[in-house]
């Protein structure tokens, strides 16, 4: 059963259309990703879902009490510098009818309750923000760009935390422009560009839409023009001596059987990722 339904959402600020036409629905218990470039309309979309902004057109239906049962982590939202972690959580817990245990949450996000907000690292701030989004025992958690600006280690820790949120039975609406993040965490993804939905699918589904592109890079001592005519090959580019060949799943075998063994060095292969799928979808 859909817990969030958005139909033909439209929102503009003055003359600027932030969201043109966005529709999607989120099933209970899933981690649903909203991805797109900066300015694509992701934040406006989820702010409309959270009830922070009033849509100019279309409908948003959330099968939960917006204030009590929807926990929100806002982009660039902070706390007063001298507020301590424990005080922030106790305060927000007091706002809700059925709060979660602050002690357990602190444990889960691994924060010291006595530390003031100003002294937290970027990753710790995000973990506090997630804890605050969960302190009301929500049915839905909306998380907006929560790993932007974090170092890889902090990002990974945050991802683990989000995976555990699902185990609590919380539905997660996750806004991101990190394809790796979306691929790792999300059950389904809506790709948004210029205020419209381009595609909705599982991360694997989106990747396979791009035709399962395989990419091979290497250095060659002989000309590689002959590769272009092979049926397995889609494209060949040479840049600063580095050859990049894309093609189907047999492209690697085609290359090594065409070029002499001794001519090839530094061979690497990659299969397409969410990044490729995203770039293909958004037309770049």
């Amino acid at each position: 059963m859909a817990i969030i339904t958005v139909q033909n959402l439209r929102k503009q600020y003055g003359d600027k259309i932030a969201v043109k036409d966005v529709s999607f629905s989120v099933e209970e218990g899933e981690i649903y990703g909203i991805v797109g470039r900066n300015g694509a309309g992701k934040t406006t979309t989820v702010e409309c879902v959270a009830g922070l902004r009033k849509p100019d057109g279309g409908a948003v239906h959330v099968a939960a009490d917006l204030k009590q049962q929807v926990g929100v982590q806002l982009q660039e939202s902070t706390m007063p510098d001298k507020l301590r972690v424990g005080e922030a959580l106790d305060l927000y817990a007091s706002f809700y009818a059925n709060p979660a245990s602050v002690t357990e949450l602190l444990d889960e996000v691994g924060l010291d309750p006595k530390v003031g907000f100003a002294k937290l690292s970027g990753g710790q701030r995000q973990r506090l923000s997630i804890a605050l989004a969960l302190v009301g025992n929500p049915k839905i958690a909306i998380l907006d760009e929560l790993t932007t600006g974090l170092d890889p280690q902090a990002r990974r820790e945050t991802w683990e935390l989000i995976s555990r949120i699902r185990e609590r039975g919380v539905t997660v609406l996750l806004v991101s422009h990190f394809m790796e993040e979306v691929e790792r965490l999300c059950d389904r993804v809506a790709v948004i560009a210029d205020g419209s939905v381009l595609a909705v699918d599982t991360p694997a589904g989106l990747i396979s839409r791009t035709g399962g592109v395989h990419r091979v890079t290497f250095r060659s001592t002989v000309p590689v023009e002959s590769l272009k005519s092979l049926p397995e090959v889609h494209s060949v580019t040479v840049e600063a001596g580095q050859v990049t060949v894309t093609g189907d799943q047999n492209v690697l075998r085609a290359i090594v059987t065409t070029l002499p063994d001794s001519a090839i060095s530094g061979l690497k292969t990659e299969t397409s990722t969410m990044d490729d799928a995203f770039l293909a979808l958004t037309g770049e």
């Binding site: 959270a50 009830g51 922070l52 917006l66 204030k67 009590q68 929807v70 929100v72 806002l74 660039e76 939202s77 902070t78 706390m79 007063p80 001298k82 507020l83 005080e87 106790d90 305060l91 927000y92 007091s94 706002f95 809700y96 009818a97 605050l132 009301g136």
Partner: protein
Amino acid sequence: MAVTAPQVRRLTSVETKLYLREPAVIFFAVGLPIALMLILGGSIPDFREPDPALGGLRPIDTHLPAMMILLSVLTCAFSLLPTVLVTYRERGILKRMSTTPVSPVTVLGVQLVLNLAMALFTTVLMLVLANLVYDVPFPQAPLAFTGILLLGMVSSFAIGLLLAAFAPTSRIVQGLGMAVFFPSLFFAGMWVPHALMPDALRVVSEFTPSGAFGAALVDVLATGSAEWTHVALMAGWGAVAAVVAVRFFRWL
């Protein structure tokens, strides 16, 4: 959804702690006005000379405490309150709260009460110390004094909210607060008492919100009553500022 007493209690306790964790707050709102009262009262002999124009009272009984009370009230109203509110808005704290069952209006209310309480505390402490150290009599008409103090506070805080409503960033609201603060102190008679101002300047001064507040405070300390025009002016300025502030205040 109605806000419940435990929520307000918790929010008040947290905001009070945050307020008291800023040493500058205690210094400017409490320490400075009281210290100036004690130091100026002790170092300038003229302040301790009975003045026939004040019915035999000394400036230290009337003008000096009135101005120092004003200093504390205006510090809270034009600087502390708007800076906290705009900082909270700038940092997304008000927006964050509006996604919870407790509306950010509650924070505004708690901050208002907190700053009012701080200015009131300073006033009481100052009157007690002035009484102990310099024999300054307590207000001869306590009810009228309290009434004028509260009305002046409310109108000053309404103007502070107006600043918070229009300032887009905390830096701007601090600058704006100072730009309003010093002229307000001048019009109140901080540097040149109303009695010594040229007539035209005095009339203009007493028409301003802080000028009316200052005049009424001096009057009620000196004579036990104040002029209705000053009371009406404070109420009028306060009402206009409050209505405009409520109309234009942004939470996001």
